[in-house]
């Protein structure tokens, strides 16, 4: 029962982020000139408005949606690259494996956030680049885990028995290797999402990620931090929501990882 709490919370947040904005009277970028810096519980603005009169609840929900969308897309990019790289290294083995994993080791040693920022600076700040960039740097752990699993699976007697049974390599990979990999890959996918959320929020907080008037939780935290002496709720609401999402994703991912045993 307690194990499902993080997943239920995540589902609620997701539902609110997807359906919520449409149900609100104010769009996230609409300015209510009559209510600039409205306090929470103002008429029409449940959480008040920001310094230019935009509804904070609408902005929070849309920001959550943007953050989660970027995270999901980037995590999928990481999943695809990581599984492909790791599975190839583990399955081919030998020198190829060693060379491929040395590359991963070398990339691990780099300060990735800085490289992503560098790419933003050089090639402009588009949201596409944000998640492609993040996905392209978050695949390393996935590649390591998948490679270790494939390496172990390849020597498992049931895989050798499948070869003796006349199954072609493609059939073995599809029939035996990938299904036995799915649990662990899903667990690390869940654990990648909070990493990506963190990176995206970090970049947005610095003004290097998602651009105004579009918003994300990182931008909202930044705006809230700027105004926290007069309107602390503007920091607390997006900040705590972000933390809750990260904690729930981490707990769910770690639980799944422990269950599949790796």
């Amino acid at each position: 029962m307690r194990a499902r709490v993080p997943l239920v919370l995540l589902a609620l947040v997701l539902l609110a982020a997807l359906a919520g904005p449409a149900a609100l009277p104010w769009r996230y970028d609409a300015i209510d000139w009559s209510a600039v810096r409205a306090p929470p519980l103002s008429p029409g603005h449940l959480l008040g408005t920001d310094s230019v009169g935009r509804d904070l609840l609408a902005r929070t929900l849309v920001g959550t949606r943007v953050t989660l969308a970027v995270a999901a897309a980037a995590a999928l990019v990481a999943l695809v690259i990581g599984v492909a790289w790791g599975a190839a290294a583990g399955w081919i083995g030998g020198r190829t494996d060693e060379a491929m994993m040395r590359i991963v080791d070398a990339l691990y040693a780099l300060p990735f956030m800085f490289v992503v920022i560098l790419l933003m600076v050089l090639f402009g700040r588009s949201i596409l680049l944000v998640f492609l960039g993040i996905g392209a740097v978050e695949w390393l752990t996935m590649a390591r885990v998948v490679r270790g699993q494939v390496l172990a699976l390849r020597e498992r007697p049931f895989v050798i028995a499948a070869e003796a049974a006349g199954a072609r390599p493609v059939r073995i990979v599809i029939g035996h290797v990938l299904p036995n990999l799915a649990g662990i890959a899903l667990a690390y996918l869940l654990l990648t999402v909070p990493q990506v959320v963190m990176v995206e929020s970090f970049l947005s907080f610095l003004g290097l990620g998602v651009q105004e008037p579009l918003t994300s939780l990182g931008i909202l935290v930044k705006d809230g931090a700027d105004d926290m002496d007069i309107a602390p709720h503007a920091l607390l609401v997006p900040g705590l929501l972000l933390v809750a999402i990260l904690v729930c994703l981490t707990l769910a991912g770690e639980r799944l990882r422990d269950q599949v045993g790796a």
Partner: protein, 306 residues
């Protein structure tokens, strides 16, 4: 041990070379040159500038010049901070950032190891559950949320500590930034050391030690601790990268004159030489730090020394 050092150098040096080469190439292929400011320069000035930085020479020769300048510690001029070279900014900002990072690493290791060992001492009991939940919470707390929150509570709310500025390294000014920076790393260290110790305590050699009637303290310190710290040792590299990254935000939040803040300003204003210089410098630092972490790993686990 010497063989391990040599082997690691063989991985580290090509990585460093690749980083430098990559940064040079990015600099060259980036849309717009470094001198495309808001105001167009007149052709003569532009040609003079390009000549003084060797930009009129063929690419390979430029690469050699670039590496040569890096070796002398010359990162070129900053475009945002017009009166400074990147080297000047590094000289000013790096000590601040490194002080912040090193203190945070120490705090994180101290807090994290203490929490991890305490949790492993009561496996499955409430201190374990509580500490590990706290650790998960900490790892999920981004420093750009904890930073402002700490300012809000301890600075603005209670007025106990100063919330911004460096004041020549006055310790009181460092407390909040160091804590905000250290907390997520402390959480990760706690989780890793708890998991490492739990794994080691279940191993056969611990049962052998118990069978010999050794005291629990002796078993923990002499037989379990070193292998249990392996996961922490392999996390040190990523932790260092995380701290340098986190310092960027913390310096912005707490208005500290560190390299990270210059970096953000450079990034926002497309100051190529500054951004590239910092990335190259940090990559080098982290590669060095990883080398150190590998040696620590070799001390902890004799099997990989061979």
């Amino acid at each position: 041990m010497l063989r391990l050092i040599i082997r690691r150098l063989f991985t580290a040096l090509p990585t460093l070379a690749a980083v430098i080469l990559l940064s040079f190439l990015l600099m060259r292929i980036a849309p717009g040159g470094p001198f495309d400011g808001e105001r167009p320069l007149d052709p003569a000035t532009r040609a003079a500038l390009e000549r003084s930085y060797g930009l009129d020479k063929p690419l390979p020769e430029q690469a050699v010049l670039y590496v040569g300048r890096l070796a002398r510690g010359d990162f070129g001029p900053s475009l945002v901070y017009r009166d400074f070279t990147v080297t000047d900014l590094v000289r000013q900002g790096l000590p601040v950032s490194l002080t912040l990072g090193a203190l945070a690493l120490l705090v994180a290791l101290g807090l994290g190891l203490a929490a991890g060992l305490a949790a492993a001492a009561w496996p499955g009991r409430w201190p374990d559950a509580l500490l590990m939940l706290a650790a998960t919470l900490l790892t999920a707390l981004p420093s750009f949320v904890t930073g402002p929150l700490l300012v809000l509570v301890f600075g603005l709310g209670m007025g106990w500590l100063p919330v911004s500025g460096w004041a020549d390294g006055d310790p009181a000014h460092l407390v909040l930034p160091v804590i905000a920076l250290a907390l997520p790393v402390a959480g990760a260290v706690a989780k890793l050391s708890r998991a490492g110790l739990a794994g080691v305590l279940g191993q056969d050699h611990i049962r052998s030690a118990r069978a010999r009637g050794l005291s629990p303290a002796r078993i923990l310190i002499r037989h379990a601790l070193r292998p249990a710290l392996l996961p922490v040792a392999s996390y040190l590299g990523p932790a260092a990268a995380g701290l340098l990254t986190g310092a960027v935000v913390i310096e912005t939040v707490f208005a500290l004159p560190g390299l990270g803040r210059y970096f953000v300003q450079g990034a926002l204003n497309r100051d190529y030489p500054l951004v590239l210089g910092v990335v190259t410098l940090y990559a080098g630092l982290i590669i060095l730090f990883n080398l150190f972490a590998d040696l620590l790993y070799g001390w902890l686990d004799p099997r990989i020394r061979a």
